[in-house]
C-alpha cells in the first residue's frame, strides 16, 4: 500500500492549520488563531519591509538595490499618474502596498521551500484574503467617490452621452457591473493562484505515482510531466506578477472613476 501513501492531495496545500498553541485565541468570540496563513502574511510583510528598507539609503547615485526599489515605486507612480492624473499620486502608498504585498505573497508561495521541509502557503489563493483586499479597494472607491462628488457620484451609472430614453435600461446594467467589481477583483486573483498551484501539484503527483509504478511509466508519464512542471513553474512566476499588476491596475482604474467622474 505504499502507492496509496505516496498519493498527493492537490488540495492539502490550501489547508489552514493553526500553529500550535494558538487555536484558542479569540477576540469578541471570533477565533483569531495564528495560522500558517497568518505566518506567511507575516513573512511577506517582513520581506517587503526589508526590501523597501534596502532602498532607503537615499543616495543621490543609487546602488542596485535602491534602484530596484525606486523602479517599483516609479512603476506604481507612473501607473497612477497615467490612469488618474496628478491627483493619483496620493494613492501611491496604498497601491504600492497592495501591489507589492500581493506580488511577494505570490512569489513566496511559489518558492520550492518544500525541499527543505518548509511548506510555503500562498494566502492569495484564499478568497477570504483576496476578498478583504478587494473590499478595501472598493471601499476606497466608494469613500472617495461620495466624498468628492456627493450624491452626484451616482451619475457614474449613466455613461456620458447616453440618450435619455436609454437611461432606465443602462443605469441598472452599469450598477450591476459596478457592484460586480469587488467580486471579479477578488476571484480573479484567487482563481489564478489556486489553479496554478493545483496544476503543479497534479503534475507532481503524476511524477511521483508514475515513477513509483515502474521505470516504464516513469519514462512515459513522469518525465514529460516533470518537464511540463518546469515550464509551468516559469509561467506561474509570470502569472504571479501579472495578477499583482492586474489587481493594482484595476484598483487604480476604479479609483480613477471616483476621482474623475466623467
Amino acid at each position: 500500500m505504499a502507492a496509496d501513501q505516496a498519493k498527493v492531495d492537490p488540495m492539502k496545500q490550501f489547508a489552514i492549520e493553526p500553529i500550535a498553541g494558538t487555536q484558542g485565541w479569540e477576540i469578541a468570540g471570533l477565533n483569531i488563531a495564528f495560522t500558517n496563513s497568518a505566518m506567511w502574511m507575516l513573512i511577506t510583510t517582513v520581506v517587503l519591509f526589508l526590501f523597501v528598507l534596502g532602498g532607503m539609503r537615499r543616495e543621490l547615485v543609487p546602488g542596485r538595490w535602491q534602484m530596484m526599489v525606486e523602479t517599483f515605486t516609479g512603476f506604481i507612480d507612473n501607473m497612477l499618474e497615467a490612469n488618474i492624473g496628478k491627483e493619483g499620486r496620493k494613492y501611491v502608498p496604498y497601491v504600492f502596498s497592495l501591489f507589492m504585498f500581493i506580488l511577494i505573497a505570490n512569489l513566496i508561495g511559489l518558492l520550492p521551500l518544500g525541499l527543505v521541509g518548509i511548506h510555503p502557503f500562498t494566502f492569495t489563493s484564499h478568497f477570504t484574503v483576496t476578498g478583504v483586499l478587494a473590499i478595501i479597494s472598493f471601499s476606497i472607491v466608494l469613500i472617495v467617490g461620495f466624498w468628492k462628488h456627493g450624491l452626484h457620484f451616482f451619475s457614474l451609472f449613466v455613461p456620458h452621452g447616453t440618450p435619455l430614453p436609454m437611461v432606465p435600461v443602462i443605469a441598472p446594467i452599469e450598477f450591476i457591473s459596478f457592484m460586480v467589481r469587488p467580486f471579479s477583483l477578488a476571484l480573479r486573483l484567487f482563481v489564478a493562484m489556486m489553479a496554478g498551484h493545483v496544476l503543479l501539484k497534479v503534475l507532481s503527483s503524476f511524477v511521483i505515482d508514475g515513477t513509483n509504478a515502474g521505470i516504464g511509466f516513469g519514462a512515459l508519464v513522469g518525465l514529460p510531466s516533470f518537464l511540463l512542471m518546469i515550464g509551468i513553474s516559469a509561467l506561474e512566476i509570470l502569472v504571479a506578477g501579472i495578477q499583482a499588476y492586474v489587481f493594482a491596475l484595476l484598483t487604480s482604474l476604479y479609483i480613477n472613476d471616483a476621482e474623475n467622474l466623467h
Binding site: 489552514i16 495560522t35 510583510t45 532602498g55 543621490l60 525606486e70 501611491v92 502608498p93 504600492f96 507589492m100
Partner: protein, 164 residues
Amino acid sequence: MPQIAQLADTWSSQVFWLLVFFGITFFVIGRGMVPKVMETVAQRDGQIAADLAAAKAAREAADEQEEAWRVRENENRAAAQAIVAKAKDEAAAKSEKKLKAAQTRLDKKLAEAETRIAEARTAALTEVESVAVEAAQDIVKTLAGVKVTKPTAAKAVKEAMAHG
C-alpha cells in the same frame, strides 16, 4: 476545497491577520517608507534638471564670450591692418618724395653738366678756330708768301669748317 470547507472556522482569523499585516504594510511601508524613497527620486530628478540647466547656462555664457572675443579679435585685426596700411602709405609717400628730390637733384646736376660741356665745347671750338686761322695765315705765308689778313683767313677757315 479547504477554502470553502474551512471557511466557517478560519474566516475570522484570516481577516484579522490580513488586516493586521496589510495594515502594517500600508502604514509602515506604504505611508512611512515609500514617500521617502519617492522623495529621493524627486530630489535626484531635481538635481539632474538643475545640473543640466547650469550646464546649459555655462555653455551659453561660453558661446557669448566666444562671440565677444571674436568681435574683439576682428576689430583688433581690422585696426592692425589699418595701421599697417597707413604705415605703408606713409612709407610710400616718403620714399616717393625722396625719389623726387633725388631726381630733381640729379636733373639739376645733369643740366649743369650739360651746360658746362656745351660751354667747354664752344670754347674749344673757338680756340680751334683761332688756332686754325693762325695756322692758315702761317701756311699761306710760308707756301705762297702772301700775307693774308686775319679776317680773310678767318673767313676762309669758317668756310672750310662749314664744309667739313
